[in-house]
Symmetry: C2
């Protein structure tokens, strides 16, 4: 079941992540830039939604982006080519079986990956082993429990909770954002600092209403309709009412809030 909604593996997901990346680039990545000559490992690049931003913002850094899916790596390659970016090496590999020595990289970047892993702190520690002492580690994750909206709706909350339960059933944690700080500390990183990045949309911010509330968050919830109903987590009628209520929050008097958590730490 896990594969049916892991990010970036399907065409529609791919579009959604591009929308998301477009809307959220400044909010999530505006303060990430790696120096000329430094080496960066992006673990779990998916279809390259974040990779293009990373590469564009650090044009003289050398970025190695890895994903287990050959299809995603190919999509990421096309995206980088369209963007004219040449400072990224793409590798198709399991991020826990990488062909690199310890301390091979100056920096590690992990975005929307730990949420899918059963042992995120251990996973992060293993990835951080590839970073030289004194190098940096950046982690970005969302938290579906940070979503709230007006008008409030029990059906919408139930539909969102389907995604949380499906992700938990697949060994992940869709509420991981609030755990980024303890996870990074548990992974042995020093100087851990977490800053929340809240997306707040109301009618005075139509780009966010469309780009985030509608095309990112609500589209993601809609994407779990079939697996949620098949798993018996919800009745079709309630799910559909929930999705309608999420769309309702995009009207003139609606509001929507969601928070990402960005953590940085230093390899000891």
């Amino acid at each position: 079941m896990s594969g049916t909604y892991v990010h970036g593996y399907r065409e529609r997901e791919s579009e959604r992540l591009a929308d998301q990346a477009g809307t959220l680039v400044e909010l999530l990545h505006g303060d990430t830039s790696y120096p000329a000559g430094s080496t960066v490992l992006e673990a779990g690049c998916g279809v390259g939604a974040q990779t293009v931003t990373l590469a564009a913002r650090s044009p003289r850094a050398r970025i190695t982006s890895v994903d287990v899916s050959a299809e995603s790596v190919a999509a990421a390659g096309e995206r980088l080519e369209r963007a004219g970016l040449r400072n990224v090496d793409l590798i198709q590999a399991d991020i826990f079986d990488l062909p690199f020595e310890r301390h091979s990289f100056d920096h590690l970047f992990v975005c929307f990956v730990l949420e899918h892993l059963p042992e995120p702190a251990t996973a992060l520690e293993r990835l951080a082993a590839l970073v030289r002492p004194g190098g940096s580690v950046t982690v970005i994750e969302g938290d579906h429990g940070s979503a709230y909206f007006h008008p409030d709706s029990a059906a919408a909350r139930a539909a969102i909770d389907c995604q949380v339960q499906l992700q938990a059933g697949a060994g992940g944690d869709a509420l991981i954002g609030r755990r980024v700080y303890p996870l990074m500390v548990a992974a042995g990183l020093a100087d851990v600092h977490v800053s929340p990045r809240m997306v707040y949309a109301d009618a005075s911010r139509p780009d966010l209403v469309d780009g985030f509330t509608r095309k990112t968050f609500t589209a993601m919830v809609e994407g779990v309709r079939e697996p949620a109903i098949e798993a018996g987590l919800i009745e079709a009628g309630e799910f559909d009412a929930g999705v309608r209520d999420l769309h309702r929050t995009t009207e003139a008097d609606g509001t929507f809030a969601y928070t990402f958590f960005k953590g940085t730490g230093t390899k000891a």
Copy 2:
């Protein structure tokens, strides 16, 4: 029942609000400053927790702060005196029966007040009638549905929900933060802009853990223990477990998030 937990009416509440104001001053009020010679109405000043900040940040504005409770007004007066602030006129009066003509003030400031009112948009419209056309209106409210934490806890969520239910039973709305935008628009204000102010506490921010998670938010939830149990909303054991779990979030691996919403608009 309402009177038992309306802000600022009891000694302990008074201390809590002082803690809250001390921790949150910059976050909530750092961008509020009124020009020399302008007149400001603060509707519902309580014990003056916000008043001292307003007055100190706008030393040459003339502030009129009103509260219905004579006791609160007296406490606000002492607080202003201790702070050496002389640019505030304190008035004990019902904010809906004020001795002022329409268009008497340049600016209106309403903080943690609308959450207690059954018809917040109408209330705001009536208060805004006292502001001259072109003047500004500022509204600040919290949203208890914006609270989430690690470790997550159903008991803690249930204890928080008691406060939400009690406030709803008294005609208020503890989830009002997400509604600030539509309320200000419904009150006829122009150029409404709402900015969320998120408090995020983890062990790297010990002042916020102590000042906000423990002494502001958890203390507030603890404050509704008796009325919540009396009203049959929760069993004592579950409530106490919830409070313990909120304290648990203040440990080294815990995190806590809460968001206030600050709206500004122009009187048309």
